[in-house]
């Protein structure tokens, strides 16, 4: 049972495509693993669609265009080249161990770099998705611990497989947590190992784009 979920705002910005690349991957992976957030994202998309297509006021103000011409162009168009997806690869290997990746990570397997070993039974592999924010797999073997640390910005962590603890809680598969800069913590594993992905998060914006359709003050999604 997943205990920790991304915020409402994260889900809205994910559905709009307006998070940083690193955070899109983080939230997308959680959504893969969490039926609750999956149906929530569907609701959000439904809501955005009805706002977008229901705005008759904007419709009246737009410049008209030659609809007949565009229709003809579409009828005459080729089937869009099947963007043959780079085959999803849901296996991630480390030290001979196989981890099954959720679909979002599997579809983006080609962005995953090499593992490197860190002191203290830790491994790290970058996921190169562009943007300012780093996205990394962090693997903690059994009985591993990270020294107590704080973060400059917000740090998001998602458990892909396994379990780890900090002073506050225990985190298992699918759990998504966001720690702000003031939050001290020291994650550790016990008898089980743990594969996570982690990203440093910049500030969230609702100033432009599709997420703006759901104005924080009018939307039922913000409480």
């Amino acid at each position: 049972m997943i205990k920790f979920h991304p915020s409402e705002q994260h889900l809205v910005l994910y559905a709009a495509g307006e998070l940083s690349p690193a955070m899109l991957m983080m939230v997308g992976t959680h959504v893969d693993m969490c039926a609750h957030c999956q149906s929530h994202v569907q609701d959000i998309e439904e809501q955005m669609a009805s706002k977008l297509f229901g705005d008759n006021e904007q419709l009246a103000r737009r410049a008209s265009f030659d609809e007949q011409q565009m229709l003809q162009a579409i009828f005459n168009s080729q089937v869009p080249a099947d963007s043959v997806p780079i085959a999803a690869n849901d296996s991630l290997y480390l030290e001979g161990q196989r981890f099954a990746l959720p679909p979002t990570l599997a579809r983006n397997h080609h962005h995953i770099g090499e593992w490197s070993r860190l002191p203290g039974k830790l491994w790290r592999a970058p996921v190169r998705v562009g943007g300012e924010e780093m996205l990394n797999f962090i693997y903690m073997a059994e009985h591993a611990s990270l020294p107590e640390h704080t973060h400059k910005g917000n740090e998001a962590t998602l458990v892909v497989n396994g379990v780890f603890n900090d002073e506050h809680n225990e985190y298992r598969d699918g759990d998504f947590m966001l720690l702000d800069g003031n939050h001290k913590h020291s994650p550790a594993t016990q008898n089980e190992d743990c594969l996570t992905i982690a990203a440093l998060e910049g500030p969230l914006h609702f100033t432009t784009g599709l997420s703006r359709l759901l104005n924080p003050f009018s939307s039922l999604f913000f409480k």
Partner: protein, 193 residues
């Protein structure tokens, strides 16, 4: 004739079904006249650029025309499906404008238009869970050459190119062996159900 509008979800779903089954231009034109201007109004405000907005409209509606068969009425409304196509195109347009080659593509984040195919056009058409559970058993019934390829790809996670290199055979051979093997596996699995 009752004059249902495309803002009626059932009517919009019917129109998509007609486009999918008989390439009905009339059905598409009706959908287009409802959705295209609304997309345009929104995109113009968004992009502040008439041309980019028109690109978004045309690309979105072109996908609706050719990919209507991928709409699944049980998974959401027609309007939402069209919205998610537009969302993906917008995402990729914004990405292209930044000239970033390594970034995420919308289809890899939200596979709205992925063929959930029953056909074997896709080399990876088998459902993954099914694969993991049953592959080992069924693989034994494959010819040795096919089995080797399948094991390297699905058990060891190699790419087809890596398999070709490892076995020193052409990539085309790996592809055809994979396809044949998956076909055979599907038959075996179906047969067992």
């Amino acid at each position: 004739m009752p004059s249902a509008q495309p803002d009626n979800p059932e009517h919009a779903a019917d129109l998509l079904a007609k486009i999918a089954s008989e390439q009905s231009r009339a059905a598409f034109s009706e959908l287009f006249r409802y959705f295209a201007p609304r997309l345009q109004a929104y995109a113009t405000r968004q992009f502040g650029n008439e041309q980019t907005a028109m690109d978004l409209v045309q690309e979105t509606m072109t996908n609706v025309w050719h990919k209507a068969h991928l709409f699944k009425p049980d998974r959401g409304s027609a309007a939402t499906w069209i919205f998610t196509i537009a969302r993906n195109i917008r995402f990729d347009l914004l990405r292209k404008n930044k000239h970033r080659q390594n970034d995420l593509s919308a289809d890899d984040l939200w596979p709205v238009l992925a063929e959930q195919n029953d056909s074997l056009d896709d080399d990876y058409a088998l459902d993954n869970d099914l694969l993991m559970q049953q592959l080992a058993v069924y693989c034994e019934q494959l010819p040795k050459a096919q089995r080797t390829v399948i094991e390297l790809i699905y058990v060891e996670g190699k790419s087809q190119q890596e398999v070709a290199d490892a076995l020193e055979i052409p990539l085309g051979t790996v592809k055809s062996r994979t396809r044949l093997a998956l076909q055979k596996l599907k038959e075996l699995i179906k047969h067992d159900d």
